[in-house]
């Protein structure tokens, strides 16, 4: 369990959506997906177990621009991405479920948040779930196909209980 300096948390007051309160909003994973995408998933046929090399993602890079800049708190698992040179974790993915579940595809890109840490933290247990707090940003990526991605300027990582 790591508690970051309160200063860092206080510095994030200016989140436009949360002007009234300083408490981060608890975010549900499906809120990261556009409404129509969620609906189409509801109606989608069961997953076919096949894969091709150049398989296109179906609309899963679409993000919700209104979420940009909001202070959020989300529960998920940690997948380390960048390890800093002193052996600590500086970037990680937050994913809704853990592990290489081989039967169904991995979470689509708009169900993955790239969390960045100002100050790297020791690597946490990848089999545990965590509450991760910070400011959510919708990053535009120049490449057309990979239009946007969620990133989180992370201020606090605590064990999920």
């Amino acid at each position: 369990m790591r508690i970051f300096p309160m200063l860092a948390v206080l510095a994030l007051f200016a989140a436009p959506l949360m002007a009234a309160t300083n408490e981060p909003k608890e975010l549900d994973w499906l809120e990261l997906m556009p409404k129509d995408e969620v609906d189409s998933l509801m109606e989608a046929p069961t997953m076919a177990h096949e894969g091709m090399f150049k398989q296109e993602q179906t609309g899963s890079f679409r993000t919700i621009p209104e979420l940009d800049g909001s202070k959020v708190k989300i529960a998920g698992y940690i997948v380390p991405v960048e390890v800093s040179s002193d052996g600590q974790m500086s970037e990680f993915f937050i994913v809704p479920y853990f592990g290489a579940c081989i039967h169904v595809p991995p979470p689509p890109p708009n169900q993955i948040i790239l969390a960045r840490l100002e100050k790297p933290i020791p690597v946490t247990d990848i089999y545990d779930a965590y509450w991760i707090e910070g400011t959510l940003n919708v990053e535009q990526i120049k490449n057309d196909i990979a239009a946007s991605a969620y990133t989180l300027t992370t201020t606090k990582v605590t064990l999920w209980e």
Binding site: F53, F61, G87, F93, P105, L114, S148, A149
Partner: protein, 425 residues
Amino acid sequence: MLLQIARASLWNRRLSVGLTIFTVAISVALLLSVERLRSETRQSFASTISGTDLIVGARTGALQLLLYSVFRIGDATHNIRYSSYEALLEGPQIAWAVPLALGDSHRGFRVLGTTTDYFEHFRYADKRALTLATGARFAALHEAVLGADVATKLGYRVGDPLVIAHGTGNHDIMVHDDQPFRIVGILARTGTPVDRTIHVSLDSLEAIHAEWKSGVRIPQRAPHSHDAHAARDEPGAQLAKPETITAILVGLHNKTAALTVQRQINNYQGEALLAILPGLTLIQLWSMLGVAESALLLVAVLVVVAGLLGMCTALVTTLNERRREMAILRALGARPWQIGALLFIESAAITLAGMLVGTLFMLLVLAIAAPWLAANYGLYIDPLAFKLRELGLLLAILFGGVVVGGIPAWLAYRRSLADGLTIRT
């Protein structure tokens, strides 16, 4: 006053005290070396790759792919087709992909066949890029760029010739001496396995292997050999594409696509491929090594405990010999607590001396072991890199030494009242 007495008394028993210090020193050196190896290994591993989103290779274990592609530890189980690399490049998410071909060496240093994109995209230690200390990147066939260690160990300079050996042994028996390379550049030191690598272009590797299609060199039967020589003579001439490569480093436009692309690569119909997330695999490697690390650290801590107990035993046994000494001190007006304090000071002094000697000993051992570890395991240990944690360990040892010293001190305090003046038989 007490300090002076303690010093004189210790000096009087210098042989046994010296041996005790040595015992403590050995245990301290062991603990510090284990701790240093542990932290430096992690750091060394963590610095080796950065900024690469996926590593792709033949299907094998994730750890093994990471070890042979990036750390140059062990060998690839299988190569992958060059056509898979070309297919991968067409993927919409792929920002860049750098092919790596391993399998040859020069006097124990691995030769890496790649493209100039490698210098562009490869990152180590917090996304630092490779820089050239002297010279330039390879541009034509039979040009080589050396890692810093290769250049210093073998005393090579830009412009020197270099003959690559077939396979990855330490001695060059089967050599590609028909096609010598020329050194065109030397990279700045990185503290990673890059320092121990010789970089050449994929085409060059293909060219030197043109005559080796049957596993041995049979020049007369090789249809490609003329192409290779021709290509060497006229730079810019097109060679046949390489058929296989060992691994691919991949960068993505959008990092959050990593899991999806990984899945697509693992499901590739063309051949059995494996894609790994380097960060995650590194963590998995640590969680595996963690058990061994903890066991080693535990043993080292126990050795320190044994060392301190040895010191305690030595002090307690001398108490009998020193009955007269204590009696004289008491007769001269020393109070019981002063006798106790004397023993405390002695144990603290022995512990301190042991720590000092042990630290020096550790530095010596690591200084000797560092080049060997770098050469054989690709681990870069800096003997002089002191960490806060080590200071903590040393303080803990000092504390332990003083606590253990409490036993003889207490005994001396108790006995000094009457003991020694009464003559026993």
